[in-house]
Amino acid sequence: MVKRIPILFLSLITAPIYAEMKVNMPLGVTPLSHDIYWLHMTIFWICVGIGVIVFGALIYSLIKFRKSKGRIAEDFHEHTLIEIIWAVIPFLILIGMAIPATKVLIRMDNTEDADLTVKITGYQWRWKYEYLDQGISYFSNLATPANQLNNKAPKNKWYLLEVDHPLVVPTHKKIRILVTSNDVIHSWWVTELGIKRDAIPGYIHETWARIEKPGIYRGQCAELCGVNHGFMPIVVEAVSPMQFAEWVKQQTQGKVTFNTDVKLTLSKKELMGRGETAYDTYCAICHKPEGTGMPPAFPALKGDKILTGKPGDEIAIVLNGKAGTAMQAFKNQLSNEDLAAIITYIRNAWGNDDKNKQGPHAGELVQPEDIALAR
């Protein structure tokens, strides 16, 4: 690995490396990723072979036929047969490449006889996983804390590649994966599964995987989808079918619902605590943990006139989003409790609750009931 020597040297003087440095595509853990890897390496070596011949001839000519060595140019500039030969040989090599590629592609296209179907929906900027047969559905958000993004805390091993709720799937089962999007085009990509599928709003495309090895596999959104494109990772946890069945049982028992009819009153402390956590997961990526936003695209919440006024308008904005901006509707993403907590938090944090400065309504609480009414 001569290539890696300067890199290793450089790494001595840079930040410590947490993960092993990779220079090639991983072999992966599905039949498709194996096929892809094999194709990739075959083509790579064919290219290397052609490269050796072409570059060899070029280097030879450049060394041998220098004017400084007293070479005088010969006069030949045409040869039809040789032109035909060096058009036909590459053509034959290409046919040799196309045959295995076609076979693999046809195999990839076959999503029949699946044991499990998962629907994946891209949102700006999180993924939603739905197990259609099991009735499980949840969102998966970036779990890297903001202070690591801002270099205020040391970055952990899986910086930007960690989520709060991974996609859990069984090993040795054929999983049919349906991919779509709620807003703009995203792309669901996990290298080790050999899957990259664009999430197109309004259309569903499918692919499949059969994971042969339990483990945790990480990926990222691969299609530019707006400002936080780099912050919507994918984590797939492959467990044995037994563990998977166990997991399904747990999920269906403690099912997340949006409690649209439950009437509950929470204390300010409860609301603020829950609100801060939910805010950091759902809101902080644009509006920033300090509530300063990124104007003009993402307005500051600190000192915002709507948030310090009578509760009402901000509830509507959080529930339904704001047309023409990146602000999306959280109606179907979060429960009444979480929404009430987030709104209470943003009404009280960063000095927004200062009645002297911000007026009489500053710091008023919002309860789940208010959200239920506004829905």
């Binding site: 947490y18 220079v23 595509m25 058009a87 703009v184 259309y203 530019l224």
Partner: protein, 534 residues
């Protein structure tokens, strides 16, 4: 340019006394040499603008974590870097070369449509002003990448997107008018005896490029107009909720976009076919096959657009068709590379700066071709698509391909245009710094892409840190090395450096070398006689 002093022809020498007449000379000029100069300066300025944006991007990616620019600005920079490098640097540079060279190479007095020529150029500064003005507006500037995929650029696009749309309309208009002019010139103004099969390959490559421009620029105008209608007039071309399809955008965009990359590279092929024979002191090998190869590439380039969309869920049959068609392009491209190597073979080679860039082109463009071939294999493309592997691929074909060719062309023809030899030592320094830093910047990107780093992300996982750091160091060396290029050009244009003969290069052939250096303001007012041509 001091071509004015040499101008002996009718209505030639502008009375360039006083500031006003100096300015109006450039605004009202219809002279192909003046307009070529304008195009080339515009391109050089935009090269530094787009390059500064690239350096901002690389500076942000020097280490993981939020560093210099916010993700929002990052996205704007990737968008502008792409748009400016494609439309503001490579295309104007190639048109500038065409303006200077085509009339001199075919023995024409000027371009066929000189006033149109003036207009094609002067649209550009306004188009770019419109585009760049969005960076200074209160809302976000276009931030969806140079490919501006719907619906990110339609339903979700910032208000300033409309400025970009009109700017692209103007750029397209300029390109179409330029292409018409080039075709008209080559068809009508060849000197007697300059038959098609005697034309220099540079002229041939531009003729074919001009037809490609005519074929696809209206399609680009169409797609941005559809965007405009979706944004403001209630249509739903790209919106599934209204019966449209976001994938339609990609089809239409890439129907323009793929031929576009060949528009950027084919004049480069032309330049190589002039430079390599000159410094090998040998005729181009397989002249006819070189022309056939360009024609076949141009034709195939219209049939491969969907290879940019393999992961978007297009049907199996389409994937197979586009895979085979894409692979086929390797055949004529290979023929070209083999012919250039055969030209060098048994030649008498010297290594002046233009030749050095041409040799680097042969090595590194071929490398970019290999990664292109790998990308054509659909299953493997599922892994490569939208990663740094793609970034590495297209920078290898665009920088060692188009940009090196432009640099080679400048070093090659600048002595002819100015009458002075550029500084060879400075040129060699520029070459070596450029070629080393190109590889330092872009080679590690192959590894990053294969290991799983998506493109267009402002921050990345820790496993990608080292290669990103190397790439950033390389990018800064590349960027600052280009100042040597600028210095060399300015020196030469201002008359520093020894005078050159008509011939300039020992091995050069073609009509432009029969003219004085610098050529008079008007050349070939009466057609030359063609005795010996390639």
């Amino acid at each position: 340019m001091n071509s004015i002093e040499h101008a002996v022809d009718q209505h030639a020498p502008y009375n360039s006394q006083g500031f006003f007449s100096k300015v109006t000379r450039w605004i009202f000029t219809t002279n192909h040499k003046d307009i070529g100069t304008l195009y080339l300066w515009l391109s050089l300025i935009m090269f530094f603008v787009g390059g500064a944006m690239a350096l901002l991007i690389r500076a942000e990616l020097f280490q993981p974590g939020a560093r210099i620019i916010s993700p929002e600005i990052f996205n704007q920079m990737t968008t502008f870097h792409g748009l400016i490098m494609v439309f503001g640097v490579i295309m104007p540079a190639m048109v500038g070369l065409a303006n200077w060279q085509i009339p001199m190479m075919i023995g024409a007095p000027d371009m066929a449509l000189p006033r149109l020529n003036n207009w094609s150029f002067w649209i550009l500064p306004f188009a770019f002003a419109l585009l760049v003005s969005t960076l200074f507006m209160s809302g976000p500037a276009p931030n969806f990448g140079w490919t501006f995929y719907a619906p990110l650029s339609t339903t979700y696009g910032p208000k300033s997107t409309d400025f970009m749309i009109f700017s692209i309309h103007l750029l397209g208009l300029s390109s179409i008018l330029g292409a018409i002019n080039i075709i008209a010139t080559i068809f009508n103004l060849r000197a007697p005896g300059m038959t098609f099969m005697k034309m220099p390959i540079f002229v041939w490559s531009w003729l074919i490029t001009a037809f490609l421009l005519l074929a696809v620029m209206p399609v680009l105008a169409g797609v941005v107009t559809m965007m405009l209608a979706d944004r403001h007039f209630g249509t739903s071309f790209f919106n599934a909720a209204g019966g449209g399809d976001p994938i339609l955008f990609q089809h239409v965009f890439w129907f323009f976009g793929h031929p576009e990359v060949y528009i950027l590279i084919m004049p480069a092929f032309g330049v190589m076919s002039e430079v390599i024979p000159t410094f090998s002191r040998k005729k181009i090998f397989g002249y006819k096959f070189m022309i056939y190869a360009i024609s076949v590439i141009a034709f195939l380039s219209l049939l491969v657009w969907a290879h940019h969309m393999f992961t978007s869920g297009i049907p199996l049959v389409s994937e197979l068709f586009f895979m085979y068609a894409t692979m086929l392009i390797a055949v004529p491209t290979g023929v070209k590379i083999f012919n250039w190597v055969a030209t060098i073979y048994k030649g008498s080679v010297t290594f002046e700066t233009p030749m050095l860039f041409a040799i680097a082109f042969l090595f590194l463009f071929t490398l970019g071709g290999f990664s292109g071939l790998m990308l054509s294999i659909v299953p493997a493309d599922y892994q490569y698509q939208d990663t740094y592997f793609v970034v590495a691929h297209f920078h290898y074909v665009l920088i060692p391909g188009s940009v090196y060719a432009i640099m080679a062309a400048i070093y090659y023809w600048l002595p002819k245009w100015t009458g002075h030899r550029y500084n060879e030592r400075l040129g060699q320094w520029h070459f070596w710094l450029t070629v080393i830093s190109t590889n330092l910047t872009f080679f590690p990107m192959h590894f990053l892409g294969l290991a799983g780093m998506p493109r267009r992300i402002p921050d990345y996982a820790l496993q990608f840190a080292d290669f990103n750091m190397i790439a950033t160091i390389g990018a800064f060396i590349f960027g600052f090395s280009q100042l040597l290029f600028l210095i060399n050009i300015v020196r030469t244009v201002r008359g520093k450096g020894p005078h050159v003969s008509n011939q300039v290069w020992e091995g050069a052939h073609g009509l432009e070398w029969t003219l004085p250096s610098p050529p008079p303001y008007h050349t070939f007012s009466s057609p030359p006689t063609i005795d010996e041509c390639k």
